[in-house]
Symmetry: C2
Subunit: 336 residues, 2 copies
DNA sequence: CACCTGCTTGCACCCGGTAGCAAGATGTTT
DNA sequence: AAACATCTTGCTACCGGGTGCAAGCAGGTG
């Protein structure tokens, strides 16, 4: 590791010597609201500027037991939706004087590793962003005693006492189903990703439920291997090749936009069907590309700014830490 | 800020008391290669396990003057290409025992802020990922004395003494032009993004140069307002509306895939032209979506694994820190 | 002028580790 | 059994700040 042998950072003690005061006075000059005369402060600040001094946050963190660092766990970089949320998250964390440690959860670095590591680094909080683990993972491994506070973002919490911030799936699906109903669709189908995520299950469940309220049954349930365009394409290919034109759904809701993109490519490319005339498509998440001409996908946008705001408020402790559900908004385009 | 008043982490001193040794022996038990008897180590480890002890990395960092944290500056979250690189970067950093601090450079938090902040946090290095600033920024603000070592990733360095890791643009454009030439295209055009990035300029310049080597002149240069599908669409719309069919280029290379997507939507949607028969398209960066049916875009993939490996080797000091240029690979699809 | 109040300032001690020295323990050699 | 080499262990000092107390100092009051 390349050390910083070059030029050492100035310390409070050195600034103190230069300003002719004690190091505590220097520290006070840099601590808002502490009792110090204007004169002393001015002298300290001059000396500090001359020496290019700024407090060492590492030392401060050690002394105050607060690093103002937040670990962000991410395990699915394939989902392009992660990027805008990461942007919002880092921006708002920074605005709150916090900083994000981005942790990649993968085969070589699992949740337990990551948690222990984050704990060793004394982070003030951990955000499980779109990822989660079973409660047992904590208890099995005898963790949980000294762990930093955790929060789940954009996914249901599976851990007792760990709050989550999620988009209101019930409202979302109600909006979607209402929209489809008004557009005249009567033969809905639903495509889910493989994993048995509670957030995913809930979308499917509400989709079914709200159609049922209108006296309509969901005609087909498709499932994709994973969340990728390829998997969405395969799933819809299987469906269309075994389903007679008359028995086909007139609208297919895909659990997220990525699946929808793959499905649309396949529907138009391989099967030559027109969207939305022959089959309409709905996605979820509003990826940037859904807005392009090629797709123009009707989808649902999660309220990421509000979600991030909510989770940061909990981290800062300005609001009680409890699971919250926020409303997003329906984005209607040409695929329906 | 929610403090960790709950259960305090055990310290080496406490473990020492429990194990009946001094705290230094505890430290030795946790320091690979230090001299300690098997017996002592076993007793320490037992006590440590009972108390759930693990060393406080903050304190260690303070004492060793090495945090094993790397700040990663990102300023353009609109580019979806950032995500796979971030994945590779975090994965490899973690494998090397480092961790990424993700810093969002924006209007409220500029390079200077971010650098000072990263410095205060004593990061071991700063990676300028796809972002850079002028050399003057450093000297103007009297920075540069105590700053952590910096490295530029996926962009040219504009700072004296700061190395960069980039994709070999010359090789890339040579491959692209050769491919287009072999395919029989003879009327090339180039679309650039607005900003005068050196990496961007170089693509354009080499594009021109390699066509010239074949005795062919680039027939048109388009420019987009920024790097977005929308801007690409507008740029190509302007071009096609003022250019007679006979005068049109037969292949358009876009500076990156996002521009290409927008251009393709417009070309097919608004102008009803077929790709590649009436006009072929080439992008750059190989975004995941370029592989979908809807686009099937010929593009060029930057060697992100190798680039990340190279930059981490420099950070670790296992290789000399100097600008390196790595070869990527041409990805040929149906748009040419 | 003595006394009280309130703001500044310096100090001892603390946060939880690390480095390097020296004393203590152990084992080996002659 | 004495002398020596080697490994363990504990200790002092230190990384660069923060906390809370008490002394120092000012101004206002009786």
């Amino acid at each position: 590791m390349r050390k910083r042998e070059t030029v050492k950072r100035a310390t409070a003690k050195e600034v103190a010597a230069a300003a002719g005061v004690s190091k505590w006075t220097v520290i006070r000059a840099f601590t808002p609201g502490s009792s110090i005369t204007e004169e002393s402060k001015r002298r300290v600040m001059e000396a500090a500027a001359a020496l290019n001094y700024s407090p060492n946050l590492l030392a401060r963190s050690l002394a105050t037991n607060s690093t103002r660092q937040v670990a962000v766990f991410v395990d699915d970089f394939a989902n392009p939706q992660k990027l805008p949320v990461l942007e919002t998250l880092t921006e708002q964390l920074q605005a709150a004087g916090l900083v994000a440690m981005l942790i990649n959860i993968n085969n070589h670095f699992d949740h337990v590793h990551a948690l222990l590591h984050a704990d060793q680094r004394q982070v003030d909080a951990v955000i499980l962003f779109g990822t989660a683990f079973r409660d047992e993972t904590l208890t099995d491994r005898q963790l949980g005693h000294t762990l930093p506070p955790m929060f789940v973002l954009a996914r249901d919490s599976q851990i007792e006492g760990v709050p989550a911030v999620v988009c209101d799936a019930e409202l979302a699906l109600r909006d979607i189903v209402n929209h489809l109903y008004e557009k005249g669709y009567r033969r809905p189908a639903f495509m889910s990703g493989a994993t048995a995520l509670s957030t995913a299950l809930r979308r499917k469940q509400h989709f079914t439920e709200f159609w049922a309220e209108k006296g309509i049954e969901v005609v087909d349930y498709l499932s994709a291997e994973k969340y990728s365009a390829e998997a969405g394409a395969i799933s819809v290919r299987n469906y269309l090749s075994v389903t007679a034109a008359a028995d086909r759904a007139d609208v297919l809701m895909c659990e997220n936009d990525i699946l929808a993109f793959g499905a649309m490519d396949e529907i138009r490319g391989k099967f030559g069907l027109r969207i939305p005339e022959e089959i309409a498509i709905v996605g979820f998440d509003n990826y940037e590309l859904g807005g392009s001409h090629a797709y123009s996908l009707t989808t649902y946008e999660q309220p990421r700014h509000e979600m991030v705001r909510a989770i940061i408020a909990m981290i800062l402790g300005t609001v009680e830490a409890e699971t919250v559900t926020l409303p997003g908004k329906l984005v209607i385009r040409n695929s329906t």
